[in-house]
């Protein structure tokens, strides 16, 4: 079974998932999530010297919250991809591709040792954030390849989450059909970031029409606030307590205690925290012993909650659609299990339009696996257009164009003539409509790229022929190359933020 698998290379956690026949009923397929001790693999790499350590063992070495490099530990190497500079890890300069490759390698080896007969785990559909640009995608492909994984296709995380959620439902085809031209908000509040993505089903393409993210309200910030609250309470109990003398082992224990407290307060009004010998001092203040209530926790993070929930209104306002136009809100990510956030979401969407899924931590990986299993391809969500001299937009590549899988590319060429060469330049503006399906003359456009091409200024209008080639590669990067045939000049530009979506035509044949 050399099936293409799904891989969620997440900011805080990563997972491999495989669709396979359910052993209880082989006619039905189900998704296997390859966890570690029942949990996703933390996207953390530790370089202690020698072989890198990845996953929970690496995370256990962390003494503080947040994303990035902490000594000889890298948390979320994904965030460094696409950068031309190396990162310094424990004083050693490392390439983000290599660090990411270590995560991929670890995940693949973990999958291989499970003994899935015949699956070499060499071909994957990999999820990426909407905001990940082309250069980062290219780096990601290279990192995966170093670990022996060929990225068959990228897919945006919110689309994978939405597809994974819908695909696991019994009547998913009917539900998909009912969502035609409807809006869905994917609200992904994880440990590192909050991502909001407005998705729409349009002409059998599931695409995101608006996206916003916030790295300042990720779950790590909640943990930091909670830790501050605990410290404040401890210091109020013991005014002389010196937190500068924190035991070396206390960092990890405190991080874990914060995690436990959050879990406890999701089901009870208060919790008792007790940690022995956190401070290297004599007396009672060396132990942490305090009661933490839900209002205290919520009070400590209220601004973060408000900021995160406030993003919803901001996104809807920016997109210009009312909240009532949202068919449902799919809430994923570890933070949505926090009661205050749940209640906030219920307030905004009501119980019926809020979907809180049990598999919030794995739904993106599941979606990637289902997309791989159903062989769902990517399509251009909006046309690539060029501004014409008469101020109208002409289409170069149409909506719905199938985007290339690994190792492939598509190319479109357009020939035209320079209308006014008097200043010696031809100007090109490539753009796309703001909204899918709204590409008439007056609809608003968002620019993709500008090019200024030298032309023969002595040529008559409409004499010099111009040639524009647009090539889209498997990293979903579009290269625009314009050429003046008389002046023999070439200019190029690269588009990294192509808008693409999932083609759900193939679902008719999915099992």
């Amino acid at each position: 079974m050399a099936a293409t698998f799904g891989l969620d290379f997440g900011t805080t956690n990563s997972l491999i998932s495989v669709i396979r026949p359910n052993p209880d009923n082989l006619q039905v397929y189900s998704c296997d999530i390859l966890t570690q001790a029942g949990r996703p693999h933390p996207s953390v790499v530790w370089y202690p010297g020698g072989e890198p350590v990845v996953g929970q063992r690496a995370k256990d070495q962390l003494h503080e919250f947040g994303l990035g490099v902490f000594g000889d530990i890298v948390r979320s190497p994904k965030m460094f991809l696409g950068s031309p500079t190396d990162i310094s890890v424990g004083g050693v300069s490392r390439n983000a591709i290599d660090v990411s490759a270590d995560v991929f390698h670890y995940l693949r080896q973990d999958a291989l040792k499970r003994g899935y007969q015949g699956n070499p785990f060499t071909t994957a559909v990999v999820t990426i954030p909407v905001s990940m640009r082309g250069a980062a995608r290219a780096d990601l492909r290279q990192a995966a390849l170093k670990a022996g994984i060929r990225i068959h296709q990228f897919v945006h995380e919110p689309l994978a989450a939405l597809y994974g959620h819908l695909r696991s439902r019994a009547n998913f085809r009917k539900e998909l059909a009912g969502l035609d031209r409807r809006m869905v908000l994917v609200f992904d509040w994880g440990g590192g970031t909050l991502d909001l993505t407005l998705c729409q089903f349009q002409d059998s393409i599931l695409t995101q029409v608006f996206n916003a993210g916030d790295r300042d309200v990720g779950g790590d910030h909640f943990d930091t606030r909670l830790l501050q609250l605990i410290r404040q309470k401890h210091e109020s109990q013991h005014p002389g307590a010196n937190w500068g003398r924190l035991q070396s082992s206390a960092h990890a224990r405190l991080i874990q205690a914060c995690e436990d407290a959050k879990i406890a307060l999701s089901s009870r009004q208060s919790t008792r925290m007790y940690l022995r010998d956190i401070l290297a001092v004599p007396g009672e203040e060396k132990d942490l012993d305090l009661e933490l209530s839900k209002p205290e926790l919520e009070g400590a993070v209220q601004d973060l909650i408000s900021q995160g929930l406030g993003k919803i209104e901001m996104v809807l306002d920016a997109a210009g659609i009312p909240r009532s136009a949202i068919d449902f809100c799919l809430a994923t990510g570890g933070m949505v299990s926090m009661p205050a956030i749940r209640e906030g979401l219920v307030d905004l969407f009501g119980v019926n339009r809020l979907r809180l899924v049990d598999n919030a931590a794995t739904v993106i990986a599941e979606g990637a696996a289902w997309i791989a299993h159903d062989n769902i391809g990517l399509q251009l969500a909006k046309p690539i257009e060029m501004l014409h001299a008469n101020n109208s937009y002409i289409e170069i590549i149409p909506t719905g164009t199938a985007l290339p899988f690994v190792g492939k590319a598509i190319q479109h060429r357009m020939d035209m003539y320079c209308v006014n060469p008097s200043d010696g330049f031809a100007k090109f503006l490539l753009a796309r409509p703001q909204w899918p399906g709204r590409d008439s003359h007056g609809d608003r456009r968002i620019p993709y790229a500008h090019l200024t091409l030298p032309v023969d200024s002595h040529a008559r209008p409409l004499q010099e022929r111009l040639q524009v080639d647009v090539t889209i590669n498997d990293d979903l990067i579009a290269e625009v190359r314009a050429r003046s045939l008389m002046r023999q000049q070439t200019r190029r530009s690269v588009i990294h933020d192509l808008e693409f979506g999932l083609s759900i035509h193939a679902l008719a044949h999915a099992t």
């Binding site: 079974m1 396979r20 052993p23 296997d32 008792r272 940690l275």
Partner: protein, 357 residues
């Protein structure tokens, strides 16, 4: 060196008295059978014991009159001088068939010698059938004229008789030689080729009627017809039997072909069943692997989850509870809460371990 036997002079003086063998050739024609009888028997005069009168009585000679070498040479010389003497020798060979072994042997030796004297040499000795046939055919082919002259025909008949008696000829070869002797040369045939008759104009009866019939000839033909008729009837019965057998065999063959077709169809059906079975086995093997891997994964995940719970929360909470119990004073609330959380978690996780049915 070849010599003309009819013109060869001899330096040997003629015998004073001719041997009966030479007299047979040169004298008044006598029946070959009677001559050979005289050579084997002698007539003696004995007294009749009843009447006391002398009477003539035939008695087998103590030894037949065998010609010596001189007589044989003379015999050949005399034979070559007249054409009908070859025919007389031929009659001797013919008649010797019923004679004693010594007479028959003597006659054949004389014939062999005469043939050689007439220029037909068989080599090498001992003579075999192939050499005999090839020698006669070669001799015949060297004679271009057709029809053959009478003396050539006489010599051919002598050769056929000798060959037949010596078992150097079979019937087919004998008739082949006769056909060869009587067939016109190709040149003449092409000039005078008439339209081929649809039926043979010469029948056995034609042969019979053109033959100088004697009582012995008729007896021979009669015997021949009886034997051939009996043989024909036997062949006819055999043909009928074979025809019946062919019919039965054809019926058997049709039946077997039908059986073969049925078996072939059954075989094809079995092959198809086997193919389907193999396909199904392959499917089942895939399913077995799928089921095995599926449950293997579940067990793995269950173990991992259980390990995660035990090694993670449960251990940590119990450790906290233990720390709280060991502190002074003991933190009862902490202990209670951790134990409650542990119990809740265990209860929740047990649902994973319960059978699904």
């Amino acid at each position: 060196m070849e010599t003309d036997p009819l013109n060869t002079a001899t330096s040997q003086p003629p015998p004073t008295t001719d041997s009966p063998w030479i007299t047979y050739l040169t004298g008044k024609p006598v029946s070959a059978e009677s001559f050979l009888s005289d050579m084997a028997f002698e007539t003696i005069t004995v007294q009749d014991p009843k009447t006391g009168k002398p009477k003539k009585e035939k008695k087998r000679r103590r030894a037949p009159i065998i010609p010596d070498q001189t007589i044989r040479t003379r015999f050949n010389e005399v034979l070559a001088t007249k054409r009908d003497r070859v025919e007389r020798l031929t009659q001797l060979v013919q008649a010797s068939a019923t004679s004693s072994e010594s007479i028959r042997h003597t006659v054949l030796e004389l014939a062999d010698s005469a043939i050689a004297h007439l220029g037909i040499h068989f080599a090498p000795e001992p003579l075999d059938a192939t050499t005999f046939r090839q020698t006669v055919e070669s001799w015949l082919s060297a004679i271009s004229e057709r029809p053959l002259k009478a003396d050539t025909v006489s010599l051919l008949l002598l050769l056929i008789h000798v060959g037949w008696r010596r078992s150097l000829l079979d019937q087919a070869t004998a008739f082949s030689l006769i056909t060869s002797a009587t067939t016109p040369t190709k040149k003449n045939a092409s000039q005078t080729q008439p339209a081929q008759p649809t039926r043979p104009t010469t029948t056995l009866l034609d042969v019979l009627l053109t033959t100088k019939l004697t009582r012995q000839t008729l007896a021979t033909f009669g015997s021949y017809f009886r034997e051939t008729s009996a043989a024909a009837q036997a062949q006819q019965k055999k043909i009928q039997s074979q025809s019946d057998k062919i019919v039965r065999l054809m019926a058997d063959r049709a039946s077997l072909e039908s059986t073969v077709a049925e078996l072939q169809a059954a075989r094809n059906s079995l092959v198809e069943q086997q193919r389907l079975a193999e396909s199904r086995i392959a499917e089942l093997e895939v399913e077995v692997i799928a089921v095995r891997d599926g449950y293997k994964h579940r067990i793995y995940e269950m173990r991992e989850r259980t390990r995660g719970v035990l090694q993670g929360q449960i251990t940590r909470w119990l450790q906290t509870a233990l720390d709280a119990a060991q502190s002074t004073p003991a933190r009862i609330a902490v202990i209670q809460e951790r134990l409650e959380d542990s119990l809740k978690l265990i209860e929740k996780e047990i649902s994973w371990l319960r059978p699904s049915d």
